[in-house]
Each structure stands twice: as structure tokens, then as C-alpha cells.
């Protein structure tokens, strides 16, 4: 099978994984905004006024970017923005690790408590965010994808 035929499917599977992951992570944070606010406070990176704004805005941004990636509407833009967002998350966690602060990274909100997933802000979380960023950049670079609403509507018109 030629690589040109495979790449749209690679892009589709990355979209599926990252899209679902970010929608679930976003919903977990949206359901507990005060918990996410407390997590962000633990990072000691942002001023109070920005903290409350970020606590309500970031989960919804993650949700819409994940949904956009999953449905295949503006998926290249969404993948680029998610790559940038993941790089920023990695930088924030790296700064916490460098300062020796031990906190939860807050990446999966309430789910960490419910499912007992380890969610510490450590080098594992940094590597995980960098892998997610690389996957998003791959979708952005590949350009073609299978099963997307954008392709469906452009084929009809």
C-alpha cells in the first residue's frame, strides 16, 4: 500500500484519539471548575485575575478544539492550536518541576479521583504533553484525512 493512501488514515486515527481525549479531559474540568481553579493556583504562575479567567476558558477551549478535531471541521487549525496548547502545558509543568513544587497537573480534572489515574505534574506529564503536541502537528502537516465533515461538504459542492 502506498504511503499516500495510508497517511489520511493515520491522520484520522490521530484525530480520533486526540479528539476524544481532549473532550473527556475538558468535560472532567468543566464539571469541577473550582477544583481546576485550585490546581491552577498550585502552579504559582498566573496572577489572580488571570487565574479565574483561565479556569473557565481553557476547559471550553479544549472541548471545542477536541470536537473540531473529532468531527473534522477546521481540523488543521484545531490541531495546530492543540499543539500550541500542549506545548504551553508542557512548559508550565516543566517550570513546576524545575521549582520543585509537588502538585497534580490537573490534566484530567475529576477523572483522576474517580478512576485513580496518577496525574502528578512530573516529567512523565511533560513527555506525554510533548507526544500529544507531536501527534497534533502530524495532523497539521499531513493535510489529508479520512472521514471529515469538511471533506464531505467540499465534495458535495
Amino acid at each position: 500500500m502506498k504511503s499516500a493512501n495510508v497517511m489520511p488514515w493515520v491522520s484520522f486515527f490521530i484525530r480520533l484519539i486526540i479528539g476524544l481525549l481532549f473532550i473527556i479531559a475538558a468535560l472532567a474540568k468543566i464539571s469541577d471548575p473550582i477544583g481546576f481553579f485550585a490546581t491552577l493556583m498550585g502552579f504559582r504562575l498566573f496572577p489572580d485575575i488571570l487565574l479565574s479567567f483561565l479556569a473557565i476558558f481553557v476547559p471550553w477551549l479544549e472541548f471545542f478544539l477536541g470536537l473540531s478535531l473529532l468531527l473534522g471541521i477546521a481540523y488543521r487549525t484545531a490541531s495546530f492550536l492543540l499543539a500550541v496548547l500542549n506545548l504551553l502545558f508542557a512548559l508550565a509543568i516543566l517550570s513546576v518541576v524545575a521549582r520543585g513544587i509537588e502538585i497534580d497537573c490537573g490534566c484530567f480534572g475529576l477523572l483522576t479521583d474517580l478512576l485513580g489515574i496518577p496525574d502528578k505534574a512530573d516529567m512523565t506529564a511533560v513527555v506525554r504533553d510533548l507526544v500529544f503536541a507531536a501527534m497534533c502537528l502530524a495532523v497539521f502537516r499531513i493535510r489529508q484525512t479520512a472521514f471529515s465533515l469538511e471533506n464531505y461538504y467540499s465534495a458535495r459542492t
Partner: protein, 55 residues
């Protein structure tokens, strides 16, 4: 590039509007504009009364 910018703007605005709307109607809302710290809060935090000179 122009398309990327416009789509990014639309996604940002959609997220911002939904976030503000959801926060406004949510029972577990976060206050966006926190009130300034009162003197009592400072006293409680530091244990020092304003105007006191100590020993």
C-alpha cells in the same frame, strides 16, 4: 494562512462565549472579578493590626 487565522478566531470566540455563558448560569460559578482584600483579611492572614507599632 488567512483561513487558519479566521478559523482560530472563530474557535476562540466560541469557547470564550460558551465559557462565560456557562459560568454565568452554573451553580458552581467562579467569580471573574475578585474583591480587594479587606483590612480584616490582612489582619487575619498576618496577625498584625494595621497601625500597631509593636514593642
Amino acid at each position: 494562512m488567512k483561513r487558519l487565522f479566521i478559523e482560530a478566531l472563530v474557535l476562540f470566540m466560541l469557547a470564550l462565549m460558551t465559557a462565560l455563558l456557562f459560568n454565568a448560569v452554573s451553580p458552581r460559578k467562579i467569580k471573574l472579578f475578585l474583591p480587594k482584600k479587606s483590612e480584616k483579611t490582612v489582619e487575619q492572614t498576618t496577625g498584625v493590626q494595621e497601625g500597631s507599632k509593636g514593642r
